[in-house]
């Protein structure tokens, strides 16, 4: 079993009309055994910026702590919140620092940039950014998620419809993956 599949995870983010949604499953496992059903994988950096971390749970937690640290210092120094694009560049740089001993995480970043324009992106565990205009997925259920999102996604959805779409995409995908599931967390901003 790969290190990325040790704990099991499912993450998806979608762009709507002046809004975004980010969702994750709630299972924390140790290989085949489920250990928790309320595990948090999506974290708030500031009111308009959320980051989800799939992959190894310990790395997700540590990486989140490091990112919050960097963002807090940025806020103090620059007296403003980080834009999502800037944050994505920062995450990419932090991941690449550990190029030869990486964090086993795949982050999904979702936020509202200037004039509330939604921004989503994902990257691999060593910081290769992948921007998208519609949706991004990560985790053990990513293949199912790609299929579900591709068929269910429509551009410019309002928040309520976006919520329904992302929830259905998440739930149907994790049902096909034994390592993720046990409900979901959805954030719509």
């Amino acid at each position: 079993m790969s290190i990325f599949e040790y704990n099991g995870s499912a993450l998806v983010a979608m762009v709507g009309k002046n809004c975004f949604a980010i969702a994750s499953d709630r299972r924390l496992g140790v290989q085949l055994q489920t250990v928790a059903t309320d595990f948090q994988r999506i974290f708030k950096i500031h009111d308009k910026l959320f980051v989800g971390l799939s992959g190894l749970a310990t790395d997700a937690q540590t990486l989140y702590q490091r990112l919050v640290f960097r963002h807090k210092l940025y806020q103090l120094r620059e007296e403003r919140d980080m834009k999502p694009e800037t944050f994505a560049s920062l995450v990419s740089a932090i991941l690449y620092e550990k190029r030869f001993g990486p964090y086993f995480c795949q982050p999904v970043i979702a936020g509202l940039g200037d004039e509330d324009k939604p921004f989503i992106c994902t990257m691999d565990s060593i910081g290769a950014k992948e921007l998208a205009k519609d949706f991004v997925v990560a985790g053990t259920a990513s293949e199912s998620l790609y299929g579900a999102c591709e068929s269910m996604f429509k551009p410019d959805m309002e928040p309520e419809e976006l919520f329904e779409t992302i929830s259905q995409a998440l739930l149907s995908s994790v049902d096909r993956d034994c390592l993720s599931g046990w409900g979901g967390h959805v954030y719509v901003v």
């Binding site: 120094r77 620059e78 834009k83 800037t86 560049s89």
Partner: protein
């Protein structure tokens, strides 16, 4: 070298609570060539006198106003070689910021880091403070900004300021002439007129004023 009784840091406090070397550094700045900056509504102007020691000097090789990033420039008063070191360090810091955040560095951040470098040299062993004051002019999301950084490492934001020789005349002139809603062209004009107050010869003024018009 050796263990002289007086081999302490150049920047120990005097009994009156001053750092004498910094005072001397400010004197060095005060006897340097005049430079000034004016913040307009849609940009910032920085200007300096470029008096060369002899007509044989190749004036195209002398660059007193330097670029730190595509939207931040700097001019100095005081010791040229010291300013070059600071420009080099500031450029590197700006590039590091850009590399990390993929965003141009805000003016305040660059000024803060430059000032921190200058302060380091007032509290380290075996070095002396920089003999320059810098006027950093930049344009970012917060609009046009003008900062002065002193050898002590303190920095101030100005609407208009001058440094070097003749600074009191120049500042008085700027106080009279400055308005908050100046456009860049007005600011350039005012900058040249300010430099004229005891710096450029009447013939040079005519040339520049003609260029501006």
């Amino acid at each position: 070298m050796g263990d002289s009784q007086y081999s302490f840091s150049l920047t120990t406090f005097s009994p009156s609570g001053k750092l004498v070397q910094i005072e001397h550094a400010l004197t060095a700045v005060g006897s340097g060539q005049t430079s000034l900056g004016i913040k307009a509504a849609n940009g910032v102007v920085i200007a300096t006198e470029k008096k060369l020691p002899s007509i044989l000097v190749d004036e195209t090789s002398v660059q007193k106003i330097q670029i730190l990033t595509p939207n931040i420039g700097v001019v100095y008063s005081g010791m040229g070689p010291d300013s070059r070191v600071l420009v080099r360090k500031s450029r590197k810091q700006a590039e590091q910021y850009q590399r990390l955040y993929k965003e141009p560095i805000p003016v305040t951040q660059l000024v803060r880091e430059t000032a921190a470098v200058m302060q380091e040299f007032t509290q380290s062993g075996g070095v002396r403070p920089f003999g320059v004051s810098l006027l950093v002019a930049g344009y970012d999301d917060k609009g046009p900004q003008l900062y002065q950084v002193d050898p002590s490492g303190s920095y101030f934001s100005w609407k208009a300021s001058a440094m070097g020789k003749n600074v009191s005349n120049a500042k008085a002139f700027l106080e009279k002439r400055y308005t908050d809603d100046m456009e860049i062209d007005d600011a350039v004009h005012t900058a040249i007129l300010t430099l004229k107050e005891g710096v450029l010869t009447p013939a040079e003024i005519e040339d520049y004023l003609q260029e501006v018009e």
